[in-house]
């Protein structure tokens, strides 16, 4: 799942050294609203994450191209007054050899971007996920290393779910930080039941979620307006519609292809991507994907079969996680029974030796030593994943039912 994430801590330390070597500049040249950026002690806590549409598009594009493998990359931006602004993002190659290679890649990329005045401070990283169960030990480790480095004490991890975005018609982008409780326990290195209870760490509060906002520059807003309503003169709207009529819409093309297949003697399976009979389009990946003359609101994929396929995968995954959950619970019970047995044996021993002289505690401890409690962290992560999956599935049922009723409304007049 997220086995490809690598530790990026050395990058930020190297970057710190580099910044220290830069000549000091005149503080009075900084505009007033940016002065809080110099707040090195990070006294203001993060409240929300504001993402630029450019960064969102780059993340979405990278995730979509590498679907279904999960990929990750860096986020660049600034933190001002508790609001983390993400202005740029770049992908990190997955086949890099060593950790050093990856660090070097990131440093080179940031240096190149700095030459064109892109914000050069790293504010976190992003990861794409497939079914929605992104919680894993590698993710927590990388995020911990990001939050540990002094310059990036305000780093977040942005999780983007490609399948959910495409099917729900709603951008799925969530920002997370590690909670203080989890970080404390990592430092201590113990994840026994008592430690978890003492710090109040449950599967739900390992990660803290921050609200995400999308805000673009005014020029970006002008661009979006231009895309939605392209400048049309007289009769240009007619031309657009005429073009639409000629162009095979994906639905019509599939319908036509299916009708052809039905009529043919050998009914082959018509693949979804087979836009049959559109000449002039060469290699795969160059087929126009929903090219229209203007940008409209994404009507969520009303193809119910697509949603069912991913639902089936989610349910399978849920089944596996439930098995693991039960297995973890059994393991723990087994340990607990062992501990109870040892305790009973010890009590009996003390009981039998009551008439004779007292045996010192230390000897008793040496004679009756219970096994140490297994770490509950894996079980906790498993439960967290399960809770994420179930939440995603439950949330998708509402829209699914609504779409069903919409389809029914269309059919009622027939």
């Amino acid at each position: 799942m997220s086995g490809e994430t690598k530790n990026a801590k050395p990058m930020t330390t190297l970057l710190n050294e580099e910044t220290a070597q830069l000549a000091t500049f005149d503080v009075s040249r900084i505009p007033k609203q940016l002065l809080p950026v110099l707040d090195v002690e990070k006294t203001v806590a993060l409240t929300k994450v504001r993402v630029d549409p450019l960064a969102v598009l780059k993340i979405v594009k990278h995730a979509r191209e590498s679907h279904p493998t999960s990929v990750n990359g860096q986020l660049l931006g600034l933190e001002i007054n508790g609001v983390l602004e993400v202005t740029h993002a770049f992908p990190v190659p997955t086949q890099l050899g060593s950790e050093e290679d990856m660090t070097n890649y990131q440093i080179e990329m940031i240096q190149c971007l700095r030459e064109v005045n892109v914000d050069s401070s790293s504010v976190g990283w992003y990861q794409s996920t497939r079914l929605g169960d992104f919680m894993g030990q590698p993710l927590l480790d990388v995020q911990a290393s990001y939050q540990a480095s002094p310059n990036a004490a305000s780093s977040v991890v942005l999780i983007h779910d490609t399948t959910k975005s495409e099917q729900g018609g709603n951008l799925s982008l969530r920002a997370f930080r590690l909670s203080a409780a989890y970080l404390d326990l990592v430092k201590k290195g113990e994840f026994g039941t008592k430690d978890l209870a003492a710090r109040g760490l449950t599967f739900a509060n390992i990660l803290e979620e921050l609200p995400v906002q999308v805000e673009g520059s005014s020029l970006a807003k002008a661009l979006v307006a231009e895309l939605q309503w392209p400048a049309t003169g007289n009769g240009a709207a007619d031309q657009l519609l005429a073009q639409e009529l000629q162009r095979p819409s994906s639905f019509n093309a599939k319908l036509r292809a299916r009708r052809l297949a039905d009529r043919s003697a050998v009914a082959d399976d018509v693949a979804d991507d087979d836009v049959a009979g559109v000449p002039g389009l060469g290699a795969e990946g160059l087929l126009p994907v929903r090219s229209v003359g203007f940008l409209g609101r994404p009507v969520a994929a009303l193809g119910l079969e697509q949603a069912d396929v991913s639902l089936a995968r989610q349910l399978e995954s849920m089944g596996e996680l439930i098995d693991e959950h039960v297995h973890d619970a059994n393991q723990w019970m087994y340990w607990k029974r062992g501990e109870a047995k040892v305790r009973n044996a010890r009590a009996q021993f003390v009981e039998r030796r009551k008439d004779q002289d007292e045996v010192p505690e230390k000897e008793l401890d040496a004679m009756f030593r219970p096994l140490p409690e297994p770490s509950r962290l894996d079980a906790l992560l498993n439960t967290a994943n399960l809770s994420l999956l179930t939440k995603a599935v439950t949330q998708s049922r509402g829209p699914a039912m609504t779409k069903m009723y919409m389809a029914q409304a269309l059919q009622q007049d027939n």
Binding site: D52, P53, V56, L57, K58, V60, K61, F90, E108, C112, N117, S165, G168, G169, N170, L171, L196, A197, T202, A204, Q213, V214, E215, S217, L219, K221, A222, L223, V224, E226, L227, D238, E244, L245, N252, L255, V278, P279, G280, L281, G282, P288, V289, R290, S291, L295, R297, A300, T383, S387, T390, T394, S396, R397, G398, P399, A400, M404, Q411, N414
Partner: protein
């Protein structure tokens, strides 16, 4: 803008004059939205003394080179004065090498520039990029960031040599038909950006799936009302009928599949039962997890 898709006609299209270079001309260009936003971002971050910015376009081509898909881009620092122009080629090469490691399929397909008019050095830069994109011709994308005429005009151009000699300065830019591609996932991201520009505070908070569906349905209803009003108007004679719109509406309505009502109601019921069952089971699982968690903490 005619989209000619038939390969047999392509060779007879006179897009360029006699070419001395053995380059294949591009017929159609598809652009991803991330490229446009990237260009704007670069323009906003330009240095004080720059009026125009340029950068490299990356993408893929079809095997015969006639169709180009521009997938991403990066900025290249450049400096131009009245007499000369400098382009930081080192930066261009190192950025391209870095990009190639992240996405191996993308190659250099052209370059972009901002501004309402072509730079007078455009021909020279076009020549440089043509050599980089060899053996295919380089695509030039221009975005009018000065918003002349109240629009953000986006143009795709292709250089073709004119004149007697094969000098790099003799280059005429011909328009290239382009289309914007909106893959489904990017569509949602763009919708979030669009919501942010319409919202009064200037930003859009990411909302749940159900709320997004509600917005879609509202918009759909509004569209249906507009269309119904128009159709009623045409039938009553108050509106001028437009054949193209009529055909389009007919085509659209024909898409609704015809299913026998008994069959449909069985389908509907079974599907509804499936949905409810899944919802019940997942809620059960969640309740179980919460109980297990509470029990753990007591112990």
């Amino acid at each position: 803008m005619l989209n000619l898709n038939l390969p047999s006609l392509a060779s007879s299209i006179v897009k360029s004059g006699a070419t001395t270079m053995a380059t294949t001309t591009t017929q159609q260009c598809y652009v991803h939205p991330v490229v446009l936003f990237s260009v704007l971002d670069h323009y906003l971050r330009r240095n004080d003394n720059q009026e125009r910015v340029i950068g490299t376009l990356l993408g893929v081509r079809s095997d015969d080179g006639r169709i180009v898909e521009v997938r991403s881009c990066f900025a290249v620092p450049h400096f131009e004065t009245e007499d000369q122009v400098e382009v930081d080629m080192e930066h261009h090469r190192s950025m391209f090498a870095l990009h190639k490691r992240a996405s191996a399929r993308e190659q250099i397909v052209g370059w972009y520039a901002t501004g309402s008019k072509l730079s007078k050095y455009a021909a020279l830069i076009q020549d440089f990029y043509s050599r980089e994109a060899a053996p295919f011709s380089a695509v030039h994308l221009v975005m009018d960031t000065e918003l002349t005429g109240g629009q953000l005009a986006i143009k795709c151009l292709q250089g073709s040599p004119i004149g007697a000699g094969a000098h790099p300065e003799n280059c005429m830019f011909l328009p290239l038909p382009y289309e914007l591609q909106y893959p489904d996932a990017e569509l949602t991201a763009l919708q979030a950006a669009a919501d942010s520009s319409e919202a009064p505070e200037g930003f859009a908070v990411l909302i749940s799936d159900m709320e997004q569906l509600e917005k879609s349905i509202d918009e759909l209803k509004a569209m249906l009302e507009r269309v119904t009003a128009y159709v009623h108007g045409v039938c009553a004679g108050t509106e001028k009928p437009n054949n193209v719109i009529g055909k389009y509406l007919m085509d659209m309505l024909a898409v609704v599949p015809k299913i026998d009502s008994k069959q449909f109601s069985t389908l509907f019921q079974t599907h509804l039962q499936d949905i409810l069952m899944v919802a019940y089971l997942t809620n059960l699982t969640r309740a179980q997890l919460n109980i297990a968690d509470r029990l753990q903490r007591i112990v």
